[in-house]
């Protein structure tokens, strides 16, 4: 049972890491294009668009890196889950307002902001939330606090 849980945690970690790294590299390397995508949503005033989009791109990249290497897994999973919940809300909002623009989620575009994208992010949220509760230790360099099984924590 414990091995199965560790296996699911490892698979979830690598999956979420892959999603975030794939999503982030283009945003980091082409900050102007991502700032444009963020501005499309009109959620933040224009003077905040550049800084918020740049920080978000790097946040995604760092989360991906932390999850790949298994460093501070629970903290990274909390961030990734929070971001995914935010993205889901954003996609629903975009769907409600009839937006037809690209969601700006992944390189190359082709993903319109809306309900379908919200559903996709909901799928990504499942393994991310799993990691919040079961960060796991397999192939993790420094999983951080909360990664040990509860029974071990009680004994120490």
């Amino acid at each position: 049972m414990k091995a199965l849980r560790e296996l699911i945690s490892l698979a979830s970690r690598l999956f979420v890491a892959g999603v975030f790294l794939y999503a982030a590299y283009d945003k980091v390397w082409q900050p102007a294009a991502f700032a444009q995508a963020v501005a499309e949503y009109e959620l933040v005033p224009l003077w905040l668009v550049n800084s918020s989009s740049a920080v978000m791109a790097w946040l995604e990249l760092l989360l991906g890196a932390l999850l790949v290497f298994g460093v501070a897994v629970r903290a990274a999973a909390l961030w990734s889950s929070g971001l995914l919940v935010f993205f889901i809300a954003l996609m629903i909002y975009a769907g409600l307002t009839g937006a037809g623009y690209d969601c700006g989620c992944f390189p190359g575009g082709g993903h319109a902001a809306g309900y379908e994208t919200a559903l996709r992010d909901l799928v990504f949220l499942v393994p991310s939330l799993w990691l919040v509760f079961f960060p796991g230790r397999w192939l993790a360099l420094a999983p951080g606090r909360g990664s040990r099984p509860r029974e071990e924590r009680f004994l120490s």
Binding site: A32, V55, A57, L62, A72, L78, Y101
Partner: protein
Amino acid sequence: MTLLAKGVITPQRRSHIPWAACLIILLASAACAWLFNAFMPQGIGLTPAHVSHPLWQGVSLERAARMYGQGALFVDARDPGQYKRSHIRGAVNLSPVEREYLYPLLKPSLEAAKRIVVYGKGVSRFPAAEIGQFLRQQGFGEVWVMEAGLDEWRAAGHPLREPKRPGNSS
């Protein structure tokens, strides 16, 4: 009495939310973003040029409505999907995404207009400010960016075009 004091949760059962690690991740992201954008050639400034060095002028809802009555051309800078749902009556659509295709088509109308008022949704002024900046760069003299969005325009009872959608009984 707290739940801890009542014994509902024990110290061992309290969740360990790694606040410090979360904060460090955020600060590291902000530091990386700042360093990258400050030193890489493709880096972007803290604010866009059409905000830090605007060529357009802002205009209040009331004044924009007066300009509308005087025959100013209104440019809807929002996404074409949003434009189709509703827009100011008589407004043309010129969004940043489709600018390179739409601008040549709209150029005669824009050149014929004495005044141009650009609007977006109002919260961020995007994409109105960007289109306003673009039009000024193209040599148009009187380009105004409406400070209010379409919702405020609607609430004030000004003319709108909202095609009826299937299932819309009103």
